[in-house]
């Protein structure tokens, strides 16, 4: 806590609310863009340009009946969406949005990040992997075979892609010599790491799409095979929490990509948070673009890609980076 307990609480509150509003806005952007990619209009009835669509969706979700399926384990069933949501929001808390800022009109300065530890990257990875327990517990506690299979797929996918993901990120860590996001983004003032770490970035990006369960790697909720996967038996706000957690994870991974490979909050003219938003938005646009373009892969293709392509490439990148850093 760099600014004391009270300031940290206020910053966390503000960050969570901005994040949820951003998420709601991005659902509109996603539907609008997907519509455009498919030569449709997308949502355009609620409010100007359909902008109030997320609020209408929220109202619909809130009105739905909250029920617990017969044979489910009630406590775990109710706990699962909260685990997914809490971990998704928690992981985002470590993202830096700049260095130091002053509140206009006063001389009160504060840091544009909630925490900066020497192990930030590991903490994000740890919280992210805890988030998968929400999916696993939800799938198991629903007492439905489709939900269980969806949860299983999520775990198998996580375990396969976490290895390549971590190895790809280690290249950046070696080059920056730190696990702290602030240090890593400050180290890129001259050159973004996406250029020297292009191999690592490609592996990171593919693995990040897989870890956030976005198409074309959304096998955990492949509708033709496992209905809706782990959240088949969830409805109303509980479903909405799973969906929100999934999208917030995608935002977190975008922010991670922006910090590790695109200089994070640094950039000319505009303030840090704006640059961070632009970079996150760029990542999300590409994610939506990919969703509209690529068909879903089969499960064996997913496993083959993870273990036989990404892992060797990430290892190669790691060895090259280590050799260059040592002998330079």
């Amino acid at each position: 806590m760099v600014d004391g307990v009270l300031a940290t609480l206020i910053k966390s509150f503000v960050l969570v609310n901005i994040l949820m509003v951003f998420f709601a806005f991005m659902t509109w952007v996603e539907r609008k863009l997907i519509g455009r990619f498919q030569a449709r209009f997308g949502p355009n009835r609620v409010g100007p340009y359909g902008l109030l669509q997320p609020i209408a969706d929220l109202g619909k979700m809130l009105q739905k009946e909250n029920m617990i399926p017969a044979g489910a384990k009630p406590k775990l069933y109710l706990m699962a969406p909260w685990i997914a949501m809490a971990c998704a929001l928690g992981a985002f808390g470590l993202m830096p949005f700049g260095n130091v800022a002053t509140i206009p009109g006063t001389d009160y300065t504060f840091h544009l990040y909630i925490a900066d530890t020497s192990v930030s990257l590991l903490v994000v990875a740890a919280i992210g992997s805890l988030g998968f327990y929400g999916l696993m517990i939800g799938g198991w506690a629903s007492s439905s075979k489709y939900a269980l299979l969806g949860g299983m797929r999520a775990i198998a996918q996580l375990v396969s892609y976490e290895v390549a993901f971590t190895l790809a990120v280690i290249g950046v860590i070696i080059q920056a010599g730190s696990l702290s996001f602030v240090t890593i983004s400050n180290a890129q003032d001259n050159l973004w790491y996406v250029i020297p770490q292009i191999l690592g970035f490609l592996v990171f990006f593919v693995a990040a799409v897989a870890e956030s369960n976005r198409p074309p790697f959304d096998l955990t909720e492949a509708d033709g095979e496992v209905v809706a996967g782990y959240h088949t038996e969830y409805g109303g706000m509980r479903y909405a929490m799973f969906a929100a957690a999934e999208f917030v994870n995608a935002i977190t991974l975008s922010a991670l990509g922006a910090v590790l490979f695109f200089g994070g909050p640094s950039g000319p003219y505009l303030p840090g948070p704006i640059w961070m938003l632009i970079k996150i938005g760029g990542f999300l646009f590409v994610l939506i673009w990919i969703r509209a373009t690529l068909p879903r892969v089969r499960f064996d293709q997913l496993m083959k890609l993870g273990w036989k392509v990404l892992l060797p490439v990430a290892t190669l990148n790691l060895l090259l980076t280590a050799a260059i850093v040592v002998y330079r």
Partner: protein, 204 residues
């Protein structure tokens, strides 16, 4: 602040440890063990061991417990063991083992003298400090552990893959080919028979 966090985390650690053995359902037991590991990570954080805390969650929660839950969920409700199936010697062995651990803890706690808080370096517990320690003072232990883990991984692959298919001798290959030729001949003649029977059936 530290004291409050310490008591909450230790309380959760003890409660979840009890839940691991008290729960009948193995899935819930594994989740309780997960809760225990997370509470221990919080305690490690209080000891300024940030790297070990993060690594504990990534390794145990992110990889090991996930595999536990994976297997338990696949094996299914069959794995819930009734109270009658316990063997008495297991109970006695467990009591003995816990008594030994309790004695060890008592001896250590009451045998130690608690002095003032130790002064820590600025980089104590950071990845850099731990990496340096592993690569200099504890290099041998580190390498031995990595070799053991590698062996375990290879052994896992060998066991998981099952026996390698045996290479057949020439005689066996010929016998197999003859057998499949015989099989094909039978199928062909059966198809002819079926066709004949069908056409006769239609005629009658």
């Amino acid at each position: 602040m530290d004291i409050v966090v310490f008591f909450i985390a230790s309380g959760l650690a003890i409660a979840s440890a009890v839940a691991v053995v008290a729960q009948k359902n193995p899935f819930v037991s594994a989740l309780a063990l997960l809760g225990n590991l997370v509470s221990l990570a919080v305690l490690l954080l209080l000891l300024s061991a940030q790297f070990v805390a993060a690594a504990q969650i990534i390794v145990y929660a992110g990889a090991i417990m996930v595999m536990f839950l994976f297997v338990i969920a696949y094996v299914g409700p069959r794995s819930e063991i009734g109270a009658g199936e316990r063997k008495p010697w297991q109970v006695w062995l467990a009591v003995l083992a816990s008594a030994l651990i309790a004695i060890e803890v008592i001896v250590v706690v009451f045998g130690a003298t608690f002095g003032d808080w130790a002064d820590l370096d600025g980089d104590y517990g950071t990845p850099a400090a731990i990496g340096k320690a592993l690569m200099t003072d504890y290099l041998l232990a580190f390498e031995v552990v990595s070799v053991i883990l590698f062996m375990a991984a290879v052994a896992g692959v060998v066991f998981g893959a099952g026996g390698r298919p045996r290479r057949l001798s020439d005689d066996e290959v010929q016998a197999k080919e003859a057998e499949s030729a015989e099989q094909r001949r039978r199928e062909a003649s059966r198809a002819v028979l079926d066709a004949t029977r069908d056409s006769m059936g239609e005629g009658a």
